[in-house]
Symmetry: C2
DNA sequence: TCAAAAGTGTTTGGTTTACACCCATGA
DNA sequence: TCATGGGTGTAAACCAAACACTTTTGA
């Protein structure tokens, strides 16, 4: 493990991933708990000499979740010289006797933030060499994170909310088939407020990114809601061209 | 000049600035012409060990224009491993006998793109050590740029257009006092389409970011338009909080 | 048969778009 | 005096927000 410290990875450059999932009507984020300090942190990674940032982020995402071909987007660069000391000094590896890692982690990193939207059910959380746990945490239960990771998370959320108005969201966050109330819950959770059922449905349907299917949910009590799936062709078009135009 | 090659600057990390100005009803961009290859390029820079990316970008902007306290914002990271070879190999410094610079420029750079909006009249274009000219170019007259700088410029424009719908724009791009038709021309140029005079005025005024002044323009033929200035207090509030909310 | 959730349509109000007339100025 | 650009108001169209009734289901 220690050999990547010297060869093959670019100095000074890292990335952090804010991986969002949706479960039990809650927005969740995948976090790692570090081995020594027990601090919680966003999954991060470094960039190989042959990779673009996007490829490095996709690799990191795959290493932590097993997932590929995921919506993954850079949203901000975090570059304060003291950013590694923002919450408290990194007691973790620096004082852990980790040996050759120490030099690597002691350098200054400029980190590119990425966010990803993944299917909670399909992800298999896997921790890395420096952490002992990898878990989904609901937004509300997230407290202090390592370094400036709280800021990174906040910025990711802010970006996600902004994108909600001009990009389709939901594919990768929801299972293949889902109901309109489920999709609405997702939007409500992301926006942090209630939406009108009927107006929501009208608006979403006007985007033509859904295919309506048959009935469902013997499991659920009360009237069975219809199932929908994303119309990937239209969905991807909307991803490229946006849902509405400015001004 | 050559000493920064080794000490004080971070390896692998650079920044490029897309500096927009507005003059003669045209959107212009500040470009450098390189000494040897004669290629045109965006002004770029590197990051000192003690600087954030934002500070490095502000320094670069000041070095090329003499301006400080300018609207300056990161918009994307360009990280393709081969990005320096996208238009054609950098014949420039690599084959120029520049000596110690050669190693520095031959490394792979991950570049953070920034864009700035500046007052054309106040800027004093100054070229750097590697270039022989620094000039404003209207968008239409910009042809082939060095490396991936065409992509960087395109992405900057795209970002600027998006921001137009939720951020106030114009302060720093226009002189202190300006007329409504001038502001409209700016918007039309940025958006690339004509807008209705009356609707435009109503919309802008509803944002409460302008102060109306007295008459003007003995210089101009025909009816003299009113002058406006930005109401900085409201302008800055709008910058922070946005002009409209999504969904 | 009732409570809770889901399906659907209509009314209303605000915003955006389209459009026309008058005024000031220099040629 | 006329062509050009600038100032202003109003009607129509469109979209978003508010809202109510019916259906289904399990208890």
């Amino acid at each position: 493990m220690a050999d990547f410290m010297k060869e093959g990875f670019l100095n000074h450059i890292s990335l952090d991933c804010v991986i969002f999932g949706f479960h039990n009507n809650q927005l969740k984020v995948l976090l790692l708990q570090m081995k020594y300090s027990k601090e919680w942190a966003l999954p991060g990674g470094f960039v190989k000499e042959t990779e673009s940032m996007e490829e490095a982020a996709a690799r990191t995402l795959e290493e932590r979740t097993g997932l590929r071909e995921i919506f993954l987007q850079q949203f901000h660069v975090f570059s304060e010289p003291k950013r590694s000391k923002i919450n408290h000094a990194v007691k973790d590896l620096k004082n852990s006797g980790a040996g050759p890692d120490e030099k690597w982690f002691n350098q200054r990193f400029i980190s590119v933030g990425f966010y990803a939207l993944v299917d909670f059910e399909k992800a298999t959380p896997m921790h890395d060499f420096f952490s002992e746990k990898c878990e989904w945490k609901a937004l509300e239960e997230i407290d202090r994170l390592m370094m400036d990771h709280n800021q990174i998370l906040d910025k990711a959320l802010e970006t996600l909310r902004l994108q909600l108005s001009y990009l389709p969201i939901g594919y990768n966050l929801l299972p293949e088939k889902f109901t309109m109330p489920e999709l609405q819950k997702l939007y409500e959770t992301l926006l942090g407020r209630k939406l009108d059922r009927r107006n929501f449905q009208r608006k979403i349907l006007s985007w033509k990114i859904l295919n309506k299917l048959e009935e469902q949910k013997k499991g659920g009590a009360y009237k069975a809601p219809f199932l929908y799936e994303f119309n990937l062709e239209n969905y991807n078009t909307a991803l490229k061209e946006g849902l509405s135009d400015p001004m």
